[in-house]
């Protein structure tokens, strides 16, 4: 075994999808790397590393954030929700996820976890949005497969069901 140098052996504790997790987090470790490599929560994806594509979108205390440009240590004590956290303990899909399923909103599925978290944040405020408003709020989440409209369909339908 070769020597492994660890700098800043501080730990960070977060509540991830309802589960309290304590793991090492060097001062420079992003939330995305902490979730994926330390906590084993891999549904937030690395797509660009610069906060542009939205594939790593998670909710931090209910607010959408790009986990690739947030440091894990900054989030100490926070509640983090990822797409996997929308799914019930029994594996049942949430009504938002059901709507994505019904509307064929995932093709390759790589942007989907981030899209779902952006959509979750949209649904959370109870306001109904037009298709154009939905498109505007999705502007930070890139998709290269669908052309977006099945995703817009799914969110529109989900907010209708919520009313």
């Amino acid at each position: 075994m070769s020597t492994i140098e660890r700098r800043d052996l501080a730990t960070t504790t977060l509540t991830v999808n309802g589960r309290r997790v304590t793991r090492e987090a060097g001062g420079h470790m992003t939330l995305l790397r902490w979730l994926r490599d330390e906590a084993g929560v891999v549904d937030p994806k690395y797509g660009c590393g610069e906060g542009v594509c939205g594939a790593c979108t998670v909710l931090v205390d209910g607010e959408p954030a790009s986990a690739c440009i947030v440091l894990a240590a900054q989030c100490e004590g926070a509640e983090v929700t990822t797409a996997a956290g929308l799914t019930g303990d029994d594996g049942a899909l949430s009504s938002l996820q059901e709507s994505f399923h019904r509307h064929h909103a995932a093709q390759c599925g790589f942007c989907t976890p981030g899209m779902l978290m952006c959509a979750s944040a949209m649904l959370a405020d109870g306001r109904s949005r037009s298709r154009d408003e939905i498109r505007e709020e999705l502007h930070g989440n890139l998709c290269r497969c669908t052309g977006y409209q099945h995703i817009v369909d799914a969110i529109e339908d989900a907010q209708g069901a919520r009313r």
Partner: protein
């Protein structure tokens, strides 16, 4: 088998043609799908490449001593550490003095680098942090060489040679009829020059994979790829038998051709072979934009001879493409450009000259549309200008020239299926209705259509084949095994639907094992819009064989004639009643009848490809379609808003209408991105596009809903009469958008992307249609 056209009556279809949620959708939406970069192994190492920071240089010194001493570093490899560091590609139809042209490239450069981003060293470490530090510590000294940044410069007399032997990589010619005579007889001649740009695939999942040795000493590589058959290339590089390498393709986070060539595979294999530990490699977005092959930049010159009634008498076309620093698939991509250059039209005579040259730009290779899409900008811009000059309706001109069954392409290939091009033109125009009004002063709106054709299935000269295995379990559930990589288009799910249709099995009780070169029958590449044609037909054949085996056993047992039996969701029906499926399966066991079957589908055959292209059949068949765009142009800023976008294709038969719509909408948006936004910007061989903040793909705000109209002629060569639809819809947006802008401002943009600056140039040149 291969030339048969299959159609089914719609009312007989139970599962195929239904808009079903794909079987892979639930896991993707639950966030539980494990992509290539999501897997981790105990004791896993990380690997990263040290890449050239200049586009053209001789390597004078490479020193990894300091890098090897970084704590946590396990190994640093150079080209000398690679068992077979040189791989070569045969370039079909192209010759050097004697024999076929073999284009060579190294896995890790030892003497010379030819593009910005070319790999030089491979660092393997315990942690990402050690990796980053060690990559910095690798010392590379180089002596810069001249940079060839344009094909014209590359092909000039006495040009600096990117590769020894000259910069001409490949050329193709098509000659049909007397072109000069046709131009002499023409009522008018339309001339145009069109330029397309370097484009990145920009799938959301950057290149990634994990590799390990299994308990039998087989190199396992689980990687985001469109081609599991690269196990053979990896075996060559390692110097081991092909049977000692296994490539597994999990669900891929987008491909579009960018994961057709190898990306991380050779480096993962080298790292594992060297350390004998599991290794993960994840390219950054920067690496992906910098160093993975792009879409070809094409320079196209069109001269079109036409008669007063709009009939095209001849096309005289020159195409020059930028192959970048290494061959990859540039020669084949250019072949597609050549064969598709005249579009879906009857052309009396044609002269096509196509050339691709090495430069010090990033390599160019496969990308959705594969050379058949850039030329749409050429032939459809010409068609639009022709209509304008003759004061004819743009739809009418296209219909007058549209190919029909029995017509031949300039290359000689006969169209053997029904062409519904006119129907797609009518469909989009009927849907569009009245043209919209400008939203305010100093704004102009424009409308245009663009039609296209795109082959589906590989070049027949490649002797394509695909295999699929289908077996019942004793409880009546069904297993499908087929090594098809699923890149997000529903490739695996379609096989389940086909098996379900033929064998009356419940979709929920079917499992598809896909994308594994060792455990599943090989199905070939998920490229060239070929998988529905190839693995779809293979699965169809396997399902039919299996059905007939089971019905045969029941017929023998019961004495009822085979023709009177059918397999239904209730069981095997016969004049004597119903035999449950599980009883029938037990009966098969008793009678030594297998309850599984292997289907192999062979693609159509054709003549050998030579530089002078000519043949009855180069491609299996083609898909046709028409798009319509309404745009609004801000005359002061040059901003273009796509108001409305309608796309119609004849897909033969939609196996899953939702997947078909998804393919059309996604391709249309990707095409709109190329038309208006996207470009990998090069400056003297230096790639200036390093991140998604610079490489702009369409966001949800940049595009309207894509209205799709799916026509089903039932005329495709795929199962149930399906045509391929993965690539075809990406071509028309280039021309639909540019022609709509031309319609709005009165002058035609001919260089992509059509940035606001280029729009304003058109505004200056043009006569505004809608300005009061």
């Amino acid at each position: 088998m291969s030339d048969e056209i299959r159609t089914s009556k719609l009312d007989e279809l139970r599962v195929v043609h239904q808009p079903l949620a794909r079987h892979d959708a639930a896991e993707k939406i639950a966030g539980s799908t494990r992509f290539a970069g999501d897997l981790a192994y105990t004791g896993m190492l990380h690997a990263r490449l040290v890449r050239s920071v200049v586009p053209s240089a001789r390597l004078t010194r490479r020193d990894v001593t300091a890098a090897r001493q970084v704590p946590g570093v396990v190994a640093v490899l150079l080209g000398e550490d690679v068992p077979n560091n040189e791989i070569s590609v045969d370039v079909p139809g192209q010759t050097i003095a004697v024999g076929a042209l073999k284009a060579r490239m190294q896995i890790l450069a030892t003497e010379r680098v030819r593009f910005h981003g070319e790999p030089i060293a491979l660092v393997i470490a315990e942690t990402e942090d050690a990796l980053a530090e060690a990559c910095e510590a690798v010392e590379v000294e180089l002596e810069e060489l001249p940079v060839i940044s344009e094909p014209a410069q590359a092909l000039a007399e006495g040009a600096f040679e990117v590769h020894e032997g000259g910069n001409l990589l490949a050329e193709w010619r098509i000659d049909r009829g007397d072109v000069d005579d046709a131009f002499a007889r023409a009522d008018l001649v339309i001339e145009g020059e069109y330029t397309t740009q370097f484009v990145d695939h920009a799938y959301l999942e950057p290149e990634a994979g994990v590799a390990w040795y299994d308990d039998d000493g087989v190199m396992n590589i689980r990687v985001a790829t469109q081609v599991v058959e690269h196990f053979r290339d990896v075996a060559k590089i390692l110097g081991v038998p092909d049977s000692k390498v296994r490539v597994i393709a999990p669900y891929v986070g987008g491909g579009f051709g960018g994961k057709e060539d190898m990306t991380v595979e050779p480096y993962l294999a080298l790292a594992v072979a060297h350390t004998r530990r599991p290794v993960r490699m994840q390219w950054t977005r920067n690496e992906s934009l910098l160093a993975r092959a792009k879409r070809h930049r094409n320079q196209m010159t069109y001269r079109t001879a036409a008669r007063e009634d709009g009939a095209i008498l001849a096309q005289d076309i020159t195409i020059v493409s930028d192959a970048g620093a290494y061959a990859y698939l540039s020669a084949l991509v250019l072949l597609y450009s050549s064969v598709h250059a005249c579009g879906p039209y009857r052309v009396g005579a044609a002269r096509i000259r196509a050339t691709t040259a090495y430069t010090n730009n990033p390599p160019t290779s496969a990308f959705r549309g594969f050379g058949g899409m850039q030329v749409v900008l050429g032939y459809e811009s010409q068609m639009d200008e022709l209509a304008k000059r003759l004061h004819l309706d743009p739809g009418e001109v296209r219909k007058r020239n549209a190919l029909r069954r029995g017509d031949r392409l300039p290359v000689g290939q006969e169209i053997i299926t029904e062409v519904q091009l006119a129907e797609t033109i009518d469909a989009v125009r009927e849907r569009a209705g009245e043209r919209p009004e400008p939203s305010g002063p100093r704004r102009a709106v424009g409308r245009a259509i663009a039609s296209n054709m795109q082959s589906y299935g590989r070049l027949v000269w490649l002797n394509d084949s695909a295999a699929a295995w289908i077996g019942f379990q004793m409880d009546g559930s069904l297993t499908v095994r087929c090594a098809v990589p699923d890149i997000g288009g529903g490739q695996a799910s379609s096989l389940a639907q086909i098996a379900s249709e033929v064998l009356a099995a419940d979709m929920d009780r079917i499992t598809v094992h896909f994308g594994d070169s060792a455990l599943n029958p090989l199905a070939g590449t998920t490229t060239a819009t070929r998988q529905l044609l190839m693995s779809g037909n293979a699965a169809y054949e396997a399902a039919v064989m299996l059905r007939d085996q089971i019905l045969g056993a029941v017929a023998d047992e019961t004495g009822h004639p085979l023709e009177s039996l059918a397999i239904t969701p209730e069981g095997i029906t016969s004049p004597g009643g119903v035999t449950s499926l599980t009883d029938a399966l037990h009966l098969c066991r008793r009678r030594n009848v297998p309850i599984e079957a292997l289907g192999t589908f062979f693609g159509p055959k054709g003549t050998e490809v030579t530089r002078d292209l000519e043949g009855d059949r180069l491609f299996p068949d083609f898909t046709f379609g028409t798009h319509l765009a309404d745009v609004e142009v801000d005359l002061d800023t040059g901003q273009v808003t796509v108001l409305r976008y309608i796309a119609s294709h004849d897909v033969g038969r939609a196996i899953n209408p939702l997947s078909v719509e998804g393919q059309i909408a996604g391709a249309a948006v990707q095409g709109i991105g190329q038309a208006l936004l996207e470009e990998i910007v090069m400056q003297d061989g230096v790639n200036l596009t390093g991140g998604f903040f610079q490489y702009l793909i369409p966001t949800a705000m940049d595009v309207p809903d894509i209205e799709t109209i799916v026509l089903e002629s039932g005329e495709g060569l795929g199962p149930f009469g399906a045509r391929g639809i993965g690539e075809p819809p990406i071509g028309p947006p280039l021309a639909a958008i540019s022609s709509a802008i031309a319609d709005a401002v009165g002058a035609r943009p001919t260089t992509l992307p059509i940035t606001p600056e280029r729009v304003l140039e058109c505004v200056e040149r043009g006569v505004i249609r809608d300005e009061p």
